[in-house]
Symmetry: C2
Subunit: 219 residues, 2 copies
DNA sequence: TAGATTGTTAATCGATTAACAATC
DNA sequence: TAGATTGTTAATCGATTAACAATC
């Protein structure tokens, strides 16, 4: 019995970026690329690219580099984009509306199949072709369609309620837009989009020089 | 002449989280906390908390811990939230609308003062009290009001155009929602919200076990 | 005071970069 | 073949964790 080497989150977060750059290369008709060339474009080291890729397989060829199309496909598979994914959105507010309208997701094989909300008044409406249903039907829908992705775009007061509803269901991944750290049932995975945190990070960066000056450098 | 110690991005990204937890403690009337207690709540080590904070100052007291309110205020200052920030949004699509409607930002002192868009038809409309102006007036507005924050929520084809418009202006920070790595003029800072990357990361995580099985662990 | 907990130095762990033999 | 470039091992760098003297 061997121990699988876990892939670090730093590597994982670079994968979509590789995918994006390879897609651009494809669009530009470039069929091969070396780690060195790619490193220049992406502004990271060639070593890092090779290390990252070799976590998943040997995709290159000595003396040649990488075939853009096949590497693109490999990363596509690694990212789990080989098959389409159905996603339910919980919360029909502005953020829910924004993501259901955003065309980049469809292109990657993500489909928003239903939006659930508490507000009876909007049930039956459609947003970009996706209909709104009442939250009371969420669990039945998930169970029936074996949905495993859920985008959580409710106000944070409502998170607990939603988490309670989906406990023990087929949902495995939560794309969370609420500014809370969710308590996850076993086997569930979360990816946070903490917009407020992100904006504060930007604020910090703009402010950094004055702060480090104020408190003074350590030595 | 000393060399300032730069704060690592890992530390910076934890600051909003500290701020959030301290705010919760305050709301619950808790007035003091030790790094140990906080570490349990946040699920990180006490050592890390103390190391992080000591990048910026000595905020605690031996034998006592930290005063919640004063630590909250310190972090608030460090994050640059001590003074309000005016932000212009470029792009009145769904994402632009979502952020201008999102109340958490105001609470943190961020104010969206104007939205700019290419579409003449919606110029003059208001979203959540913020009026829409035509993109051709963007630069004049920035110059007049010395705006330093810009949220970029245009389709990615339009990014170059916007970047060109603001080159050499007072804008210092860009909150970027487009799936591109922006070329930044000197002194400008970007914070990316790459939603597609985020969703792909979640997809990867759900897919990881089957992938590592398929390609096999390295040893 | 004794106990608690910080701030900080030292040790460990992990991620990035460099180097190079293997090989196309 | 010779040149190019990978895959992978080794070296370096940086971040996290542990330990403990300082001190409230």
């Amino acid at each position: 019995m061997y121990k699988e080497k876990r892939i670090s989150i730093a590597v994982i977060r670079r994968l979509p970026r590789y995918y994006r750059y390879l897609g651009d290369l494809l669009d530009n008709g470039i069929t091969r690329i070396s780690s060195k060339e790619l490193s220049v474009r992406m502004n990271i080291t060639a070593s890092q690219i090779r290390q990252d890729l070799n976590n998943f397989g040997k995709f290159g060829q000595q003396g040649y580099g990488y075939n853009v199309e096949s590497l693109y496909e490999e990363i596509r598979t690694i990212l789990g984009l080989g098959k389409p994914h159905d996603i339910v959105i919980v919360g029909a507010g502005k953020i829910g509306q924004a993501i259901v309208n955003y065309k980049h997701f469809e292109r990657r094989g993500f489909k928003f199949v239903k939006i659930f909300d508490k507000n009876e008044a909007i049930v039956g409406n459609k947003i970009n072709g996706t209909s709104i249903d009442h939250i009371s039907n969420l669990r039945a829908y998930i169970d029936e369609h074996k949905i495993d992705f859920l985008a959580l775009t409710v106000p944070y007061e409502a998170c607990d309620e939603v988490m309670e509803l989906i406990k023990g269901s087929s949902i495995r991944g939560i794309w969370n837009f609420s500014p809370v750290d969710l308590e996850l049932p076993d086997g569930m995975i979360v990816e946070n989009v903490h917009l407020t945190d992100s904006l504060m990070t930007l604020s910090y960066k703009l402010n950094e020089d004055s702060i480090l000056g104020e408190y003074g450098p350590k030595k």
